[in-house]
Amino acid sequence: MRFTRGPAATAATAAAVTLTLAVAACSGSGPAIGNGGGAAPKGQMERGGTVTMAWTGASPNFIFPLAPVTNTDGYNVNLVNPMWPVLVYGGDGGQSTVNPAESLYSSMTWTSNDKTVTINLKPWNWSDGTPITSRDFTFVYNMLKADVPNWNYYVPGLFPADVAGVSTPTAHTVVLNLTRSYNPAFYTEDVLSYVPLLPQHAWDKTSMTGKVGNYDETAAGARAVYAFLQKEGSDMATFTTNPLWKVVDGPWTLNSFQSNGDYSYLPNTHYSGPDKPIVSKWVNTTFTTDTAELDTLRAGGSIDVGTLPLNDIQQAGVLKSEGYSIAAEPFPGVAEIIPNLYNAQAGPLLRQLYVRQALEDLIDRPQIVSKVYHGYADPGNGPVPVQAFTQWASPLEKSGGPYPYSPSAAIGLLKSHGWKVVPGGTSTCQRPGTAASDCGAGVAGGEPLSFQLTYASGKASVDEQEAAIQSSEEQAGVRIALKSEPFNTLTGTAGTCTASSHPASTCGWQLVDFGYDPYQLYPSGTGFFNTGGYNNQGGYSSAMMDSLINATEYGSSASAFYRYEDYAAEQLPWLWLPLESDIFVYKSSLQGFTPLNPISGGLNPEVWYFTK
């Protein structure tokens, strides 16, 4: 599921897009499983029933929607979102667009050269009958503003730091005055898509026994309320009993919660939105591994919805005979190998664009897609996934990207830069120096073209992918030594390295494959490729790249995005890799599961129902 993949959570998209849905449902070599875009409901709808969803490794532990930065459990979003949805609801049926019917706002108007946004809220109610008002927005804003760095989704410089002032002319109108002009699409999809509304009338207090007031209106009071709610939000024993968490505005309320990651919801009978839950209970259960989950599916257990590991795609036939259907969904993110441009040994090599180009030329991405991922993967032609974000993928990316697989191109590049290429062996630098036909600055004569690639362990398909890369890089004499580590160990050791700071302790890595990075609705490069970006572990820094990224976020030029995207694709701040799709297994009697919402990861149980 989308959410299981990381802390980045629900978001929404604004730009009207026509996403072609069914993924090559029966085109020859293509995958035989679509995302079910064309599936027509069949059978007679049955109200009620319990739907059971299986997760792997999920252990949510925090119920207050604004988790502190020290809590990085991505599964909390899964737990919280069904009760307190964000302002901008992402995904409309199978479309990756903002869902106007489900969103909490009725309109957003940008004025003053895109520096002011006026948000009109819908006249919806909290589950206790109190109306949702603009005060609920300022409540959230006040808390975040009082302790800016302590919010998990805070990106330096953006919301709430970029808000010059908030006013609430009416009970259902919020006006945000921003410190600069923004691209409205970017701000709606990548910023406001993180902000929930929270019940000020019930939560604005500093102790369980205290009275509700307007404490959040002073900075100190807001901090006290924030701290109180964060403390209550971490007490798992009271998730279902604490009166605070009974006040929700989403379609679901929490029914049971166990610290082992099993929890269930009942429908919020006062939900104001259009899609009121049809089933009468939604149970979430967690498994230690994919394999354990698959065993239970195969054993005909009680699971209604689960995921299918790609290794087991051949199980599809058997599962169908057990009464399950299968749906695949391209994942909105980017998979990559990050080169450490400031590693003591490999840095000078990796800073050479031609070396990165040669490395990318030698990765046979189409073959990895077809053999390792059985066709269920994005080709990884550049920073934007062409399948999940058709609307944002440039013509260059759609045509296969700037570096299609070509060992001869790689050999040519290396030879023209003074390397003695030894296919199957180790290529060495013959012409050190900084001229155009030399190896480049910092590369010594006789230096071998060898790297260590560290990657996250635990997935057979990733092992296969890395072994295939290692093997194909050898065609130009590039030696890759592989090292695998558990993901958290990897993030603990592979620290951020930059031109100004590259201590030996956290910059010992040379090439790293963490897996992938998820995008919000707007696949912006901020954080990945901008100088000092939070996700820019390799220390890539380019004034050109920075200005191109800024142009996509601050300006509204339609072509700015493609310019940024193609530049990033060509400059290879990261080496692009295929990104596997999510594959879901669901009971064939469950309707409404497809078309999959690409943004919520298919997690919309309020529209699911069983047939008789």
């Binding site: 020290t70 065993d295 054993a299 958290n488 603990g492």
Partner: protein, 317 residues
């Protein structure tokens, strides 16, 4: 005896403190930092600072150890960085699961292994002995993940007669209420360990059978079954006691592989996951508990041995 016990207890305490110090040093030797590991890819400098301040990781190491000891003495094992729960409550959730799983499987392994050992001793070098040796060695030689997955493949996936996961209830009572779900995991661990007990029992029983007093007993006309039960079993069981005592820390440390195969999050998985993510409070808490169990198991085995075998006297030496 009392003096012996006091001395042993003192040594045990020294070992536990040694374990804590060693673990503390070792976990801080691991490359990388807890903050980066926990905060993940978005670990910015300001987030790392918040994290370190929250958990006191900005203090010098000796002070961190000091405050940890102080906490432990006040009964507080700290809070997990990743799971965000008190370590003591995590252990309280997980430990009973392993106690149940490993308790049942050890009991079953003993139930099968002890009679098997005696039978093989009596019939030694016969066809039955060879056959049973072959079977128990083969089971012992199987990687437990392979054996467990095979059992699931046959009994759950093919035959649909037993559930593929261990009970998911959070209380021991709840787990016992789902006995079918316990069958496969208990069987996996028990069958693999039968050989551990049956081999020792076999050697030990062969020893006993060769003793002169048995001839006397037999000469008195005691039925063979009673001979085996009353004399051979009782006299051969001594080394087994020690071995069972030695498995106590493993009960506490959990069975990570079996837990993973049967979706049964216990101490083993808790510890394994913590160790891959720099979750220091869990690592220290678990090590402490396992250390105490190891020392206690040793001590218990020694004492039991002394009580069962009058020849052993714990004197001054």
């Amino acid at each position: 005896m009392t003096w012996y016990l006091i001395r042993r207890a003192g040594q045990a305490l020294a070992v536990v403190i040694g374990v804590l110090i060693l673990t503390f040093i070792m976990i801080h030797m691991v490359p990388g930092t807890a903050a980066r590991s926990v905060l993940g890819l978005r670990a910015t400098a300001s987030r790392i600072a918040i994290f370190n301040a929250t958990y006191g990781l900005d203090q010098p190491l000796w002070r961190q150890f000091g405050s940890y000891l102080d906490q432990v003495l006040h009964g507080d094992l700290g809070t997990s960085y990743i799971l965000q729960q008190p370590v003591s409550s995590l252990i309280a959730q997980r430990l009973p699961r392993d106690a149940l799983l490993l308790g049942l499987s050890t009991a079953l392994a003993l139930l099968i292994g002890l009679p098997l050992g005696i039978y093989q001793a009596v019939r030694r070098n016969g066809v039955g002995d060879y056959l049973l040796s072959g079977v128990s060695f083969t089971l012992y030689s199987m990687p437990s993940f392979f054996f467990g997955i095979m059992l699931v493949a046959v009994f759950s996936v093919q035959l649909h007669i037993l559930p593929p996961e261990a009970p998911q209830a959070t209380s021991v009572g709840g787990m016992l209420a789902d006995p079918r779900a316990l069958v496969l995991p208990v069987l996996t661990l028990a069958l693999i360990n039968v050989a551990t007990y049956s081999r020792y029992m076999r050697s030990s029983a062969i020893d006993t059978l060769a003793q002169d007093y048995l001839r006397v007993v037999r000469a008195k006309g005691l039925p063979e079954r009673l001979v085996l039960f009353r004399h051979v079993l009782r006299n051969s069981v001594l080394p087994i006691v020690t071995i069972v005592g030695l498995t106590l820390p493993q009960v506490v440390a959990g069975a990570v592989v079996t837990e993973e195969v049967f979706n049964y999050p216990g101490m083993g998985l808790l510890f394994y996951q913590a160790s891959t993510s720099h979750d220091f409070p869990i690592l220290l808490g678990c090590t402490l508990i396992v250390g105490v169990a190891a020392v206690a198991g040793n001590l218990a085995a020694d004492v039991a041995y002394g009580m069962l075998d009058p020849r052993i006297r714990h004197g001054g030496a």
